[in-house]
Symmetry: C2
Amino acid sequence: MCESMKNAKIRLCVTQDLSDAQTIPLERDQAHYLFGVMRRKAGEFVLLFNGRDGEYLAEITDAGKRRGVLTCVKQTKPQTMPPDVWLLFAPVKKAPTAFIVEKSVELGAAKICPVSTRYTNSDRIRQDRMQAQALEAAEQCGATYVPEVDKLVKLEAMLANWPDDRQLVFCDESLAGAAETLTAQKGVEKWAILIGPEGGFSDSERDHLNTLPFVTKISLGPRILRADTAAAAALALWQSTLGDWL
Amino acid sequence: MCESMKNAKIRLCVTQDLSDAQTIPLERDQAHYLFGVMRRKAGEFVLLFNGRDGEYLAEITDAGKRRGVLTCVKQTKPQTMPPDVWLLFAPVKKAPTAFIVEKSVELGAAKICPVSTRYTNSDRIRQDRMQAQALEAAEQCGATYVPEVDKLVKLEAMLANWPDDRQLVFCDESLAGAAETLTAQKGVEKWAILIGPEGGFSDSERDHLNTLPFVTKISLGPRILRADTAAAAALALWQSTLGDWL
């Protein structure tokens, strides 16, 4: 078993329930990936998770060309949900957006929320593609959940309907010395982080954000960060101060 | 002047000294970029820095096909050196390496040090290409210096000759609960951050690092980070705790 576990490097996110001895019929795409692309064979092992039941070691008990069956052997990780922090970001070009999604999953965002702002570079997103990127990142990084990628909404609308019990960290690139410090706030367990678009926030967006009672303004230093760098940096700071890196 | 400054979005790193009214003859490549690619014309403005004299607004006073002259108008930023933190990382594939270089500059590393480890994916680097990527990132992010990209050295050799007065932050992905906290250490102003290769450190590398008196072990959370994510996250933590984000 020990040797098999070492070799069980492929991790798959599945929709079915996982429990000891549970059998998992594979979907066509999964079977193709596992047997066609990755050349795995019956008797070999993979790791499975579904966002609810933790991670399971599973044996390939049937391997066909376009179908297959896995059988759960035992749980290898308990289910762990990420801390409740959303990442709000203005979608940028294709590659940086993919990067932001991947990094958000690795750095433990609970939900990924594309928002459109005054200077947002694009008004449409490929939500399905971003969700697939999130799933792939979760398979890679050993997480037992896949953060949901929300549909694109206007920042304005999102702020107008902001939940009472959630704090928002506003990464303001124009801050000079006026930054607040991220600290635990009594009774607050729900957070979100807002990263601006490449063109920055408009003056009126910034003014509006500064009046909101649930906003904490932080600085990400004296250099101008790209949106993807800012997302990774802000999530790392949050996780190390308030999240699951403690 | 105010209008010109707004439009002066192009930033160039030059080798010449910068001071009021100083004229800067452009190199062939710079002239081609500025006039051929970016279509700038005499009378327009650019921003210049050289790593020593801060940032200057300069007017294009002569624009030829393969040559040109800029004339410094006034200093727009003082010279600011980054905090003294090196980023040591094991070169990975081409795209992640470019990303690590870019992010290191944005996040304020003073020097970028490629190191080869037991499980390093590549044994050669394109130092010239990485240095060019660092320069481009500095032009983009508003920094007034370009971190040097060092030549590739063996991690072993680097540790054997480690300077007495420099602390090393070791980002150990295998840490479970044994992490130390990044805190200021009396009299220590020189730091470095070590990021492992995609395959992780070998057991003997890890054991060796753990015996070194100048090493602080930190954790980057419960998920497995890609090398580029780890570099960005660790630099962000360092800058917000000990660097110039305070």
